[in-house]
C-alpha cells in the first residue's frame, strides 16, 4: 500500500521545530522519532481516510510526554494539518504536551500518566479477538523508565500467558530508568513468554525487520535502544 504524501523522513525535524513550547521534552521526543517513522511508514496498516475502520491497526503511545515526534509523523502522514503544529500546547489546540484521543485525529489513546498504555492495549487486543477480528495489530510504545510502573507488568504477564500474538510492545530504551533491568529489558519479556528483539533504535531496516516479526501464538516485544537520556 502506498500512502500518497509529500512528506518524508527528512521533513520530520522541521515539522517538530514548529512546536516550540516544550523544550524540556525535546530529548524524550526525539528518542521515539525513528521508531514512530518506521511504524507509520512501513509497518502499520493505518490511513487518515479510515481512522475509525475497526480493522485498522492500533498504535497506542503510552509514553505520552514529549509527543512532538508523534505529532510530526501524524502530520507527515496526513492525519494532521502541519499548520496546526504551530499552535502546540495552546488553550484551543488539539495538540497538547500529552496527546488526547478525544481531540486529535489518529490518536488512539490519551496518555501522559505512565503505565496505562499496555493494559489498554491488552484490552484492545482482547476486544478485537472477542469480535473475531484476528488481523489488526495493536502496537504500544513505552519508555524504558515507564516499565518501572507495576501496571505494565500486570499486562505483560497476562498477554504472555494468553499468547496474544496481535500485541506488540515497543520499548524505546534511552537508559532513563533509575534502577535499570538486570539482564536487559528483552530478557524480562522473554521470561513472560514474549518473542523479543533488541535493535538499534535509529536503524530503520533493523526496526522494520523486528517490528514485522510477529508470531501467532505469542506477543512481540521490540527493544529499540537509543542514546542515553541527557540529564
Amino acid at each position: 500500500m502506498t500512502i500518497t504524501t509529500t512528506y518524508g523522513y527528512a521533513d520530520l525535524r522541521p515539522l517538530m521545530s514548529a512546536m516550540t513550547g516544550d523544550e524540556k521534552h525535546d530529548v524524550a521526543a526525539t528518542s521515539t522519532l525513528d521508531v514512530l517513522w518506521v511504524l507509520y511508514d512501513q509497518v502499520l496498516s493505518v490511513d487518515p481516510q479510515r481512522i475509525d475502520d475497526p480493522d485498522r491497526d492500533r498504535f497506542l503511545l503510552s509514553k505520552g510526554h514529549g509527543p512532538m515526534a508523534f505529532y510530526a509523523v501524524l502530520a507527515a502522514k496526513g492525519f494532521l494539518d502541519p499548520a496546526e503544529l504551530t499552535n502546540f500546547g495552546a488553550f484551543d489546540s488539539r495538540l497538547g504536551f500529552h496527546p488526547d484521543r478525544v481531540l486529535a485525529p489518529g490518536v488512539e489513546i490519551g496518555s501522559g500518566s505512565l503505565g496505562h498504555g499496555l493494559p489498554l492495549g491488552l484490552g484492545v487486543v482482547l476486544g478485537l479477538r472477542a469480535q473475531d477480528r484476528d488481523r489488526p495489530r495493536v502496537v504500544v510504545l513505552v519508555g524504558d523508565a515507564e516499565l518501572d510502573e507495576g501496571s505494565n507488568h500486570e499486562a505483560i504477564q497476562v498477554a504472555g500467558r494468553w499468547g496474544l500474538g496481535q500485541l506488540t510492545t515497543v520499548v524505546v530504551d534511552n537508559s532513563s530508568s533509575s534502577t535499570g533491568w538486570p539482564g536487559g529489558i528483552a530478557d524480562r519479556f522473554a521470561r513472560e513468554g514474549w518473542a523479543v528483539h533488541t535493535v538499534d533504535g535509529r536503524d530503520h531496516d533493523a526496526l522494520r525487520r523486528a517490528l514485522t516479526d510477529t508470531h501467532p501464538d505469542r506477543p512481540l516485544a521490540v527493544v529499540a535502544e537509543v542514546e542515553p537520556k541527557e540529564l
Partner: protein, 307 residues
C-alpha cells in the same frame, strides 16, 4: 425466554443477569480479578473470549475494560469495593473517562458487608471518590430485583456506570429509574433514603410526620425531585446514605441554593477509622445507622427546627 427468577442476594443476581446477557448481547464482556470468577465458570466456558479473569491484577482489570470499550464492547468490571474503586482509581479516571469510553463497574461488599475481614475490605469512600469524576451514573440498589433492572438498563449504553452491591437488602424492591421516588408523605421534614438504607429509615420514621424519598440512583442527583418534595413539606432535609457521611450534601445544597434550608447527613463516620470486626449490625450501630440511632438523630434535628 421467561423472566428469570430473582436471586436472594445482589451479588448472585448480578452474576445471573450478566450470565444471561452474555448469551443475548455480543457486546457484553466481563473482566474479573479472581473475585467472583468461580461464579462465572460456566459463562467462561460458553464465552471464553468475553469472560476474562486477569488474575489478581486490578489495574490491568480496569485498563483491559477500557481497551475492550475502545473496540466497541460493553465491559463489566467487578471486584470487592476497595479493589475495584480505590486501588485502580487512576485507571477509572484515565482508562475509562479520559479515553471517552465507559464500563459498568460493579463492586460488592459495600461499606462493611464483610466486617470480620476488617478495614482492608471496607471502602465507604467509594461513592465520594467516583463523585470526583464527571459523567458517571451511580446506582445504589436496595434489592436484588433492582440490581437486575438497573443492569438491564445500563448494558445497552456506553456511559460509565458504577453499581454498588450490598449484602444488606430492603424487604421489597421499589421501582428503579432516575430520580427520587416518594415512599411516604409528611409535613415536618424530608428524609432521603439511598438504597439499602430504606428499611432502616422507614423503621426509624414510622412514628414521624415526614416525607420519605427513595432512590437507587444517586448520580445524577435528582435536584428537581428534591425541590418538589421540599416545596410540599418543609426545607428540613435528612440524607441517609450507606457510605461516607455527607457524600451527597453538596448536591442537596446545590439543589436548594435559593431556598433557606437545613440539612442533616447520616452515613459512615468520617472522623476515624473504625478498627473493629464483629457484625454488620454492630458497624451500623457504631456509625449511627441503626434504625434506633437514625430515629434519634432525625428527632433531634427536627426538634431543633421547632425550638
Amino acid at each position: 425466554m421467561s423472566a428469570p427468577t430473582i436471586a436472594t442476594t445482589m451479588r448472585e443476581q448480578f452474576v445471573q443477569t450478566i450470565d444471561n446477557a452474555l448469551d443475548t448481547d455480543p457486546r457484553v464482556a466481563v473482566v474479573l480479578a479472581e473475585i467472583s470468577a468461580d461464579r462465572f465458570e460456566d459463562a467462561a466456558r460458553r464465552h471464553p473470549r468475553r469472560v476474562l479473569n486477569v488474575g489478581i491484577r486490578e489495574q490491568a482489570m480496569v485498563g483491559v475494560g477500557g481497551g475492550l470499550a475502545l473496540t466497541g464492547l460493553r465491559p463489566v468490571v467487578h471486584s470487592i469495593t476497595p479493589f475495584v474503586v480505590e486501588r485502580p482509581f487512576e485507571q477509572l479516571k484515565l482508562d475509562l473517562g479520559h479515553q471517552g469510553v465507559g464500563a459498568i463497574v460493579v463492586s460488592t461488599g459495600a461499606s462493611f458487608d464483610y466486617p470480620t475481614a476488617g478495614r482492608t475490605h471496607m471502602a465507604p469512600g467509594d461513592v465520594a471518590l467516583i463523585d470526583t469524576l464527571p459523567g458517571w451514573t451511580v446506582h445504589v440498589p436496595g434489592h436484588p430485583a433492582e440490581v437486575d433492572a438497573l443492569l438491564r438498563s445500563a448494558l445497552p449504553g456506553d456511559e460509565p456506570v458504577y453499581l454498588r452491591l450490598s449484602e444488606r437488602v430492603n424487604a421489597e424492591p421499589l421501582v428503579t429509574g432516575p430520580g427520587w421516588h416518594t415512599v411516604r408523605t409528611g409535613g415536618e421534614g424530608v428524609v432521603l433514603a439511598v438504597g439499602p438504607m430504606l428499611d432502616p429509615v422507614l423503621s426509624a420514621t414510622a412514628a414521624l410526620d415526614v416525607t420519605v424519598l427513595y432512590t437507587a440512583t444517586i448520580r445524577p442527583f435528582d435536584a428537581a425531585g428534591l425541590r418538589a418534595a421540599v416545596h410540599a413539606a418543609t426545607s428540613d432535609v435528612v440524607l441517609v446514605e450507606p457510605y461516607l457521611r455527607g457524600t451527597s450534601t453538596h448536591e442537596i445544597n446545590d439543589a436548594l441554593a435559593d431556598v433557606p434550608h437545613r440539612a442533616l447527613a447520616l452515613g459512615v463516620r468520617r472522623d476515624q477509622e473504625l478498627r473493629a470486626y464483629g457484625t454488620t449490625e454492630e458497624h451500623e450501630a457504631a456509625h449511627g445507622l441503626s434504625p434506633t440511632a437514625i430515629a434519634a438523630s432525625i428527632r433531634h434535628f427536627l426538634d431543633g427546627a421547632t425550638r
